[in-house]
Symmetry: C2
Subunit: 519 residues, 2 copies
C-alpha cells in the first residue's frame, strides 16, 4: 500500500465509469442545498445572549472541564490553561481567541465533487439517522439488533434521497459485525453505496486513521490532496456534565491535524446531565463544546469546526429522555443565537421519543426539524429515520422524514414568495375565464408543472379515491417505497480500480486483526 | 318572549349553579391565552409588502368585486364606490380609510366571562374544526355523514380541552337534523355543552338572528348588554374569485350592526380560484377580505373585524386541494405581514389533506400550525379535528391536535428561555453530585413538577415498556382518550332558568317552522 498515497485517480461519479441512474421509484426533488434566508426566531434578548455566554465562560474559568485525554490536557497546559489533575480551567481570552480562528463557513468534498457541501452561512444540510443499536421495520414488526444488511439498506436510502446531503454515522449499528472490523465493512459500504460526504467515528486512533485512509483511497487522492480541504468529518460527544473522554478527543485531534471536519455535540439533557433550566443546560453545552473548538484551533488555526446542540429535557415523571419538546425547540433556538454570537456553524437534529413511525413520531420530528429551520441550524443530524430517542432506526420513518425534508427544501424556494408583476398576476385575475376558474388560463398553464411542491408520499386524493386504492396509511406507503427503492437501487459510479483498492485495504486490515476493542 | 330582552340573569359558570368538574381523564394544561412574543417570520421585503398591497388595491379599483347582496351594493354606492351591475369598484382611499377604523384588538365575552378572549395583538387563540360534512372515527373505521351525536361529542371535546379557546362552526355538520332547524339544535348544544365564545353561521337572516338571540339568552343579557361588546362572532367566505354572495353579506351586516365579531376568509386556492402564483393569490384574498372589512366599518365604525387567510394550492396533477404545503406556509406568513400592514387581527387554520389521523395528517397539520405561530396569526380556525381537506371531522385527530396545541402553548412560556442567575444555574453546575447527575439536586427538585411540558398523549416510555403495555399506536391512544372524555364529560354550569328559556326558544322557533331553506 506504500504507493497508494501517490496514486492519482478520481473516484467521483464524473470519472471514467458511466453514471447509472436507478429506476425512478418516486419523483423526488433534485439535489440542491437549501438556503435559509429567513431571519431566525430569537427568544433571547441581547442581555440573554450575554448571560448565557457569561455562564459558559464562568463554567470554563471557575469550574473547568475534566479532560481525560493526556495529550489534550498537555496541549491545554501548554496554551496556559490551569490543569489540576484531570480538571482543566481555561480563561475566556484563550477561548474567545481560539474560537475567533474557527471559520464561519467551510466545505466537505467527498469522492464525487458534485456532492461537495458548504457548512455554515445560510446553508442547511441534512444527514441520515446515526448510531441506533436497533432496527425496526413494518414487515418485521419488532425491534431487533441492527445488522449489516439493515445498515446497507439505510445507506441506500441515504444515497437515493437527494434531500440527504451528507452521510452521518452508521444509520444503524451492525451488531453482527465484530467491533474490531465493523468500521472497515461499514466505511466500505458507505464509500461504495454512496458518493456523498461521510462521517467517521472517533473511537480510538486505529479506527479514525483507517477511515481517513479509506476516504483518501475512495477519492483517488494523494495524502496532500486529502489534507488540502476537508474530505470527511467526525462528530464527538462530551460526557456531560463537563467531561471529554480519551478516544473521542484523540479522534478530534487527529482530524484537526489532517484538516477534516469537526463537530462537537454535548448531550445535555436538562434535569439529568445538565441543569433543569434550559439556559443552564445551554450554557453547559456551550462550555463543553467551545473547549473542544479551542483545542482544535490551538492545534490547527482555522480548523473546520461546528458546534452541535443536543439539549433536550427528561420526562420528570420517569427520567426518560424526551425529544422534539417545546423546551427542545427553544434550546435549539437559543443555541442558534449563541452559535451566531461565536461565529460558528451549528448542528442540530431531527429527533423523537416515539417507538413507531406514527403521529407522535411525526409531531416530535416536525417540532425538531422546524426548530432547526427557525434557529438557523446549518447541519441537521438524524434528519431521517430516527425513532425511540435514537435507539431505533426505521426505514419507514426514513422515507417519511424525507417528505418533510423536501417540504423544508421547497419552503426555501424564493419563487414562492416572489412579488413581481408576473406573480401579482393582475392580468390573470382580470382575464380569468367566465367561470372564474384559473386552471385553464395561460398564466397557470405556463407554470403548471413546477408551480407547487409535489409530494412523493403524501396522498392528496379524496377519501373515496384513497379507499378504493386500498386505504393505505402513510407508514405502510412508506414501507412500500422503501422496498421499491432497495429493490431498484444502483450504486453510484466508482472506478473499478478504486473499488478494488478499497477491498484490498479492508482485507489487509482484517488480516491484521482489525483494531483493539478494549479502548 | 317579549320580556326576554329585559331579563337580567348571568348565565356564566360563576353564577348560581355550583361549577362541576369532570373526572380528570388526562392531566392537561390550564386555560390560558398563549402570548406570541416571537418576531414573525417575514419572507417579504418592504417592497414585497407594497407590491401585494398595490395588487390588492388595483384589484379593488380596476377589476372590482361582484357584490350580489343588494343592500350591501347600495351601501357601497352610497359610500362613493362605482357600481356597474353587480360589480363594485372601490378606491384605495375609501378602503384604507375604512380599514383604519377597524380595531387592532377586540374581545369576545361569552356567557362565562372567565372565557372572555382578546383577538389581536400577540394573542393566539385556537378553535375546533368547523363544518366538515362527514365524520370518521377509529371504531367506525369508515366515513359517514355527520350526526348530532358526533357533533355533540366534538363539542364536548372542544369544551373539555383548555387549549381550545373558542368554539367555531359546527365541528361536524349534523346531517340528521333538517336544515330548517339545524342551527337551533346545534346552537342549543353549543350553549349548553360549552361555556366558551361561539360562532354563528351567516346563512340567511333568520338563522343569524336566532343565533344572536340565543347567545343573548344564554348570557342572561339585555339587548343593550348584548350589543355593548362582542358576545359571539361570525365567519364569512367570499366566493373566490372576487364575489360575495347574498346570505353571507347579510349576516355580516347584521353582526356588524349588533357589534358582534366579524371574520372574512376568502378561499383562494392558487391555480383554481386564484392565480397559480402565491403573491397573486394573497393579493386577491386581501382584496376580497378588505372590501368586507370596509363594508362593516362603513356600517359601524370600529366594528370588530378580523381578516382570514385560506390561501393554499392545488395538486397540479389532479386539481385536488392541498393543505399544509410549503406554499401554504409561505402564503400564511405573507398574509401575516399584510395583516400587520393593515393593522388587522389575522385568522389562519390547522389543516391537512390526509384522510386518516396518521403521519401525513400530522406533518401537514404541524406545518400549518407552526406557520400560524411564525406568521403571527391571532386566531387559528380548525385547530383540532380536521381531516380530508375539511371534509371529515375526527375525534382522534382532535385529541392528537390538542397535544400539538399544548406544545405551542408551552413553547410561548417565557420561563423556558429565562436567563437569570437561577436559570444559568452556575451553582447547580458547580455542586452537581459525585456522579454528575442533576436529578437529585435541590435546584432540580425545586422545579421538578413544573419544569417541563408534560404530554397527555405522547408516550415517552422506551420500546419495551410501550410494547408490554400493548404497543398502542398514537391514533389508538387518542381514540381511548376520546372515549374516556365523552364518558366522563360533565357540562359546564348553566342557570336552570336560562337552560329552560333556551329550550323554550328552540321549541317555539321549531313550532314556527324553523327557517327557510331555499336561500
Amino acid at each position: 500500500m506504500a504507493d497508494a498515497g501517490t496514486r492519482r485517480r478520481r473516484g467521483g461519479g464524473r470519472a471514467g465509469a458511466v453514471t447509472r441512474r436507478g429506476h425512478a421509484v418516486i419523483e423526488q426533488m433534485p439535489w440542491s442545498i437549501p438556503i435559509n434566508n429567513d431571519r431566525p426566531t430569537e427568544p433571547l434578548t441581547e442581555d440573554g445572549v450575554q448571560a448565557i455566554h457569561e455562564g459558559a465562560m464562568r463554567i470554563l474559568e471557575e469550574i473547568g472541564i475534566a479532560i481525560y485525554n493526556d495529550e489534550a490536557r498537555a496541549i491545554f497546559k501548554e496554551a496556559g490553561c490551569i490543569v489540576d489533575g484531570d480538571n482543566v480551567r481555561m480563561g475566556r481570552e484563550f477561548i474567545m481567541e481560539m474560537v475567533a480562528l474557527s471559520p464561519s463557513e467551510w466545505t466537505i468534498t467527498p469522492r464525487n465533487p458534485d456532492r461537495k457541501v458548504t457548512i455554515g452561512g445560510k446553508n442547511m444540510l441534512f444527514t441520515n439517522v446515526s448510531s441506533p443499536p436497533n432496527y425496526w421495520d413494518l414487515e418485521l414488526g419488532r425491534k431487533i439488533p441492527g445488522r449489516r444488511e439493515h445498515c446497507q439498506n439505510l445507506l441506500k436510502l441515504s444515497q437515493y434521497f437527494n434531500c440527504i446531503h451528507v452521510i452521518g454515522g452508521y444509520p444503524v449499528e451492525p451488531v453482527d459485525l465484530h467491533p474490531s472490523i465493523r468500521h472497515l465493512d461499514v466505511i466500505f459500504d458507505k464509500l461504495t453505496l454512496t458518493d456523498k460526504a461521510i462521517h467517521g467515528y472517533s473511537l480510538g486512533k486505529e479506527r479514525i486513521e483507517d477511515i481517513m485512509e479509506m476516504v483518501r483511497i475512495a477519492g483517488g487522492l494523494t495524502q496532500e490532496e486529502f489534507e488540502e480541504t476537508p474530505r470527511m468529518f467526525t462528530n464527538i460527544n462530551s460526557t456531560s456534565p463537563l467531561k471529554h473522554d480519551i478516544p473521542m478527543l484523540d479522534g478530534w485531534m487527529r482530524c484537526a491535524r489532517r484538516n477534516q471536519g469537526l463537530i462537537v455535540t454535548p448531550f445535555t439533557l436538562a434535569g439529568a446531565m445538565a441543569p433543569v433550566t434550559m439556559a443552564g443546560a445551554v450554557a453547559q453545552s456551550l462550555a463543553e463544546g467551545l473547549c473542544a473548538v479551542a483545542l482544535a484551533q490551538y492545534i490547527r488555526p482555522g480548523a473546520a469546526c461546528m458546534i452541535g446542540t443536543f439539549t433536550s429535557n427528561v420526562d420528570m415523571k420517569s427520567g426518560a429522555p424526551a425529544f422534539g419538546t417545546p423546551e427542545y425547540m427553544r434550546a435549539t433556538q437559543m443555541t442558534g443565537q449563541l452559535a451566531r454570537f461565536y461565529g460558528l456553524p451549528m448542528r442540530a437534529s431531527g429527533v423523537c421519543a416515539a417507538n413507531v413511525p406514527d403521529a407522535q413520531a411525526t409531531w416530535e420530528t416536525s417540532n425538531s426539524l422546524w426548530s432547526a429551520v427557525n434557529s438557523g441550524t446549518n447541519f441537521v443530524y438524524h434528519a431521517a429515520g430516527w425513532l425511540e430517542g435514537g435507539l431505533i432506526a426505521s426505514p419507514e420513518k426514513f422515507v417519511m422524514d424525507c417528505e418533510i425534508l423536501q417540504h423544508i427544501q421547497k419552503y426555501f424556494d424564493p419563487a414562492i414568495t416572489a412579488t413581481g408583476p408576473d406573480e401579482i398576476a393582475l392580468d390573470a385575475i382580470r382575464d380569468g375565464d367566465a367561470e372564474g376558474n384559473f386552471f385553464g388560463i395561460a398564466h397557470t398553464q405556463e407554470r403548471y408543472s413546477t408551480a407547487f411542491y409535489q409530494p412523493f408520499l403524501s396522498d392528496w386524493r379524496n377519501f373515496e379515491g384513497w379507499e378504493l386504492d386500498g386505504a393505505v396509511w402513510t407508514h405502510e406507503r412508506a414501507h412500500r417505497i422503501f422496498k421499491e427503492i432497495i429493490e431498484n437501487f444502483e450504486a453510484p459510479a466508482l472506478d473499478i480500480a478504486i473499488h478494488e483498492e478499497l477491498s484490498d485495504f479492508v482485507a489487509r486490515r482484517k488480516a491484521e486483526g482489525g483494531v483493539p476493542t478494549d479502548y
